[in-house]
Symmetry: C2
């Protein structure tokens, strides 16, 4: 093995420009609305072709960090975090470990929103939630049951009043379905039903609700336990 040899930056120019630009943005402490140099200026400053600069800028445009307008030039803008997440959230090409991790992450969230729920819940919310839980009981079709299952949990997130959280969980839903499907297991509900949870939310304490939710999710936690290495 030869020593003292640098592997050279096998990174492409576009990638290196991306890094440079990111440092540049931070160093200048740019805020949304702040104008950027022109593509030509950047290319000249970085000593690369305009083409490479555009490839790097294209990346920032995808993230929503940079917006471009003709003539006026480019400006910094505030990115859509969850939207970006959506672009990589493709269960089909994700490795299984990450899928399992995200599955657990969702379980943690599900348990963790209890306190937020008790801070934000309103009577109106509870009525709507109750209606979803009730609708579920009448439904025979399995597909409808699943979409109702999703509706219930989504409503819970909505009740936290935290839009980012709600959007985030809706991105995790496919993961949930995918992991379940991978194991070819049927969706097993815990002892505590959705209707029970609504009741607790109405009259019970936060602690009651946490217990109830844990019980509701117990089958999933059992799965996690069985995977423990």
């Amino acid at each position: 093995m030869v020593n003292g040899i640098k592997p050279i930056s096998s990174r492409s120019m576009a990638e290196r420009v991306e890094i440079s630009l990111r440092e540049y943005f931070a160093q200048k402490s740019f805020k949304p609305g702040d104008p950027l140099p022109t593509e030509l200026e950047l290319a000249a400053a970085l000593g690369v072709s305009r083409n490479v600069v555009r490839e790097a800028l294209s990346r920032f445009k995808m993230l929503g960090i940079v917006e471009a307008k003709k003539k006026s030039g480019m400006v910094i803008s505030n990115p859509d975090i969850v939207g970006t997440f959506e672009k990589v959230m493709t269960p089909e090409i994700m490795d299984e470990t990450t899928l399992q991790d995200l599955f657990e992450l969702r379980l943690a969230l599900e348990m963790g929103i209890a306190d937020l729920l008790y801070i934000h819940k309103t009577e109106k919310d509870l009525d709507e939630l109750e209606e979803i839980a009730a609708r579920e009981m009448k439904e025979k079709d399995n597909n409808f049951r699943i979409s109702n299952e999703i509706a219930f949990h989504s409503k819970l997130y909505e009740m936290t009043g935290n839009n980012t959280l709600k959007r985030f969980q809706s991105l995790l839903l496919p993961i949930f379905g995918y992991v379940i499907k991978l194991e070819k297991k049927k969706v097993i509900s815990g002892k505590v039903t959705h209707q029970d949870l609504v009741k607790i939310l109405r009259k019970g304490t936060v602690e009651d609700f946490k217990e109830g939710m844990l019980s509701h999710l117990q089958p999933h936690f059992d799965r996690v336990k069985s995977f423990k290495k």
Copy 2:
């Protein structure tokens, strides 16, 4: 206001190609390792210049969805979810609402990992955690106290055995610091200290721990309550 007017697709070619490619990947149900057509073929098929295709592909390369090797061409690969998240997680240019939302999301996670912790905790982990908590007490310097505070909570995530979760929380740390700074508030700890938490983790039940953690984070939850609209 004029009605029935479409805003035209103000999308750039690169953006539209990105969308087309994403559909194409899904439709062909590509898996990691699967080869892609050449840039020239894609350009021809889409009826755009190779340059535009490259800008779109550059985006996928950033996400880690596509990898390119000279001569052999491009292949699909599994993206690094958290790594992508890192690229947009820039508190400086994020809007305040999202920052608040993410702050809450972290609180929810902090509360939600309790059950995972009790599934995965080991004696060795507890010893290490205890050591961090102990080190903290001896420290006078405020900067060190904060980095110790971070170390403690990071260790908790590490103990879940969920690497994605751990990496995810470490990305949320800057948010935490930023939000705190925004309000110019000092970091106030709850009544339950880190050392208390360790004790509970050792001898107490999951419920005890959840109570303890809630108490520990109470100042933050109070803040959330006060922001309730």
